[in-house]
Amino acid sequence: MKLYEYLAKGVLREAGVPVPPGRVCQTPAEAAEAAAEIGPVAVKAQVLVGGRGKAGGIGFADTPEAARAEARRILGMDLKGYRVEKVYVEGKLATDRELYVSVTVDRVARELVVMASAHGGVEIEDVDEKFLVRRHVPILWNGEGYLLREVARGIGLEAPWAAQFQDILARLIGVFRQRDAELVEINPLVITGDEVIAADARLNIDDSAVDRHPELERVEEGTELERRVREIGLAYVELDGDIAVMANGAGMAMATLDAIAHFGGRPANFLDAGGGASVEPTAQALDVLVGMRPRVIFINIFGGITRCDDVARAILTVRETRGIPVPLVVRLVGTNEAEGVALLRAAGIEAYRDMAEAARRTVEESRKGRDR
C-alpha cells in the first residue's frame, strides 16, 4: 500500500524526522488559507505516481492568492492517469543542496538496505552507481552509530549536517521496522542553511502487513475494477487488450498471458483464480471476466489442488445465471479432468487438453471478433 505524500510526512513527523509545515487541501480556498498561515508555499498534487513536478503537478506561491490559483490549476488535473483530488500545501524551502536517502528490502541479502546519494532530486534510477552508497542493516542492528556514520561519510557530509543526517537515517530505519514498510524514501532530503529537512517522502507499506497497522489510513490503489476483484480476494491486473484471461496460480496466469502474446493476441487482464480455487471463487472470477465485455474469454486450468470438475461447474453456473455472450475457450487438464471435460461436453463446450492449441484458438477467436 502506497501512502500519499501528506500521509507519509505525517508518519515521519510523528517519528521525529524534520519535515516542513504543511496542510492537505481539497479546495482552492483551503489552499489560500493554508498559505496565509504558512507563508510562501509549494502546492503539490497528491497522487501515487512519481515525476509530478515534470508533469506540472507542483506549483509555487508566495501569497495566499497565488496559492489559490495554483490549487485551482492542479486540483482536478489528470496526472499520468490519476485525477488529482487533493493538494498538499507546504512551506517552501530555500534549497542549498539536494540529497537522496532510502530504506528498502534487499531480496538477495534478505536484509534491509540503506541507499544514499549526494545527488538527490532526480529519480534514483538516473543516479550513477558511483554516486550511490549502499549499506545493509543487519537484523540485529539497534541504533549502532557505525552504520549511520558510514553512510553520512560515504556521501561526503560534514558538520553541521552529518549529525542531523545520521539522526534522520536512524529514524527512517525505525519507521521502516515499526510500520512494516517496503520502501521509505526521501528524495530530495534538502540542506537549507544549517538544517537538513525532508522535502518529499514516499512510504510504501508491505501489503501483507497492512492488517496489523490499524493506525495507518487506508489508501485505495488501482482502477475500480481492480479494487472490486481484489475485494473477492483474487489477484487481478487490468491490461489493455481484448482477450479476458483466467488461470489458476500466479505463474500459470503469467504464462497464459505470455502464450496469448506469443500467438499475436492481446490480453485484457491478469487474473489468478488461486492455486486451489473451488466452485464459488472461480464463478465469481468468471463473472468479472464476462462483465469486462471482451472479444473472447480464455480459461486455462492445470488442476492440481484445483479440481477440473469444480471449474466446469463454475463455468456452467455462470452460463446459466448470467450467460456468457462471448466465445469461450477452455483448457482443462489435471485432477478430475475426465469429470470436468464430460460436464462441459454435455453442455456443448469442448475443452482443450493442450495449452498451445487452446491459446492459438483463443487468439483466432479474438480476430474473428474484431471482424464482426
Binding site: 534478505r110 536484509e111 512494516d180 501483507s208 505463474g251 500459470m252 503469467m254 492455486g275 492445470f302 495449452m355
Partner: protein
C-alpha cells in the same frame, strides 16, 4: 538420491487439524511421507490421521524424532510457528502460508541461518522427491521418479511443466518450490549446487518469473555447472510496477525484467524456452 527430502525424513505437520493441514497431511501420508506427528495446541493429546497430535513441536522432536516441519497455520501465526519449529531443533522447515509480512520472513530466515535450518518458502508449494516423499501441497500424480531436477518460483506453472516432462517420459529427481514472495529461504542459488551434487539429477529445469534478481544470481552458478540447465521465465507481458499475483513478481523501477533474466541465463549457457510447452523437448535434447 534426491535433495533435502528422502523417504526416511521424519515429518511433523504444524496445524494438522486445520482444514488445509488435515487435507494435505492425508495426501502426504498417502504418498508415503513419513509423517510422525502433528501439532495443534487445542487438540493436543488426540490422534489425527493415525498420528499423535501434540501441543508443541518440541514433543514431536523429542518423542518421535521429527526432523522436518511443514507449517499450515494462518500467516498471522506463521512467524510463531516457524520460530517454534526452529527452536525445537528441526533441520528442514517448509512454510506453506502466503501473505507473511516480509519483516517476519526476514526474522525467520535469520533464525534458521543461526541454527543451520534449511528454510523452504514461504508462499511455496513445498518440495517432493518423486516416488519417495512429499512435503507440500502439490498434486502427487503428475510426478515420476527420474533424472530431472526442478526448481520453481511458481506452483501451478511447475505442475504444468512437471506433468509435461512426465508425459514425455522424463521423470524428476527432486522438485523444490522457492516460493512466490520477495524474500524466501532456499533460492535457485542455494538449490543448484545440491542438484549439481545429486547423482540422480542429470539436468535441471528452472521455472523463474519477473521480479527480483534470483535468476540473474542463478546464472552465475549455471556457468560453473556440468549439468545442463533449461529455463522457462514467466511474465513477458507483465507491465512495470504491477504485482502479478505473487508478492515477489513485480518489475520495480526497471529492475526484475524478463529480458535481464533471459540475457543472464543465456549468457551463462542455459537454454531459455519461449513457452512452457517447449521445456520437455529442450530437456530431452540437453540429455542427448
Amino acid at each position: 538420491m534426491s535433495v533435502l527430502l528422502h523417504r526416511d525424513t521424519r515429518v511433523v505437520v504444524q496445524g494438522i487439524t486445520g482444514h488445509q493441514g488435515s487435507f494435505h497431511a492425508q495426501q502426504m501420508i498417502a504418498y508415503g511421507t513419513r509423517v510422525v506427528a502433528g501439532v495443534s495446541p487445542s487438540k493436543a493429546g488426540t490422534t489425527h490421521l493415525s498420528v499423535p497430535v501434540y501441543a508443541s513441536v518440541r514433543e514431536a522432536v523429542e518423542r518421535d524424532g521429527a526432523e522436518a516441519a511443514i507449517v499450515f497455520v494462518p500467516a498471522a501465526m506463521a512467524r510463531d510457528a516457524a520460530f517454534e519449529a526452529v527452536a525445537a531443533g528441526v533441520r528442514l522447515l517448509v512454510m506453506i502460508p502466503e501473505h507473511l509480512p516480509v519483516l517476519d520472513t526476514m526474522a525467520i530466515h535469520t533464525f534458521c541461518r543461526l541454527r543451520g535450518v534449511t528454510l523452504v518458502g514461504p508462499n511455496t508449494f513445498g518440495l517432493i522427491t518423486p516416488g519417495e516423499s512429499k512435503l507440500g501441497i502439490m498434486p502427487s500424480h503428475i510426478y515420476r521418479p527420474g533424472p530431472v531436477g526442478i526448481i520453481a518460483r511458481s506452483g501451478t506453472l511447475s505442475y504444468e511443466i512437471a506433468a509435461s516432462l512426465s508425459d514425455a517420459g522424463l521423470g524428476q529427481s527432486s522438485v523444490v518450490g522457492m516460493g512466490g514472495d520477495p524474500v524466501v529461504g532456499q533460492t535457485f542459488t542455494d538449490l543448484l549446487p545440491l542438484m549439481e551434487a545429486d547423482p540422480q539429477t542429470e539436468a535441471v529445469v528452472l521455472v523463474g518469473e519477473i521480479g527480483g534478481s534470483a535468476e540473474e544470481r542463478a546464472a552465475e552458478l549455471v556457468r560453473t555447472m556440468t549439468k545442463p540447465v533449461v529455463a522457462y521465465l514467466a511474465g513477458k507481458s507483465a507491465p512495470e510496477g504491477k504485482r502479478m499475483g505473487h508478492a515477489g513478481a513485480i518489475i520495480e523501477r526497471g529492475r526484475g525484467t524478463l529480458e535481464s533474466k533471459r540475457a543472464a541465463l543465456e549468457a551463462a549457457g542455459a537454454r531459455v524456452c519461449e513457452m512452457p510447452w517447449e521445456i520437455s523437448a529442450a530437456v530431452r535434447s540437453a540429455l542427448g
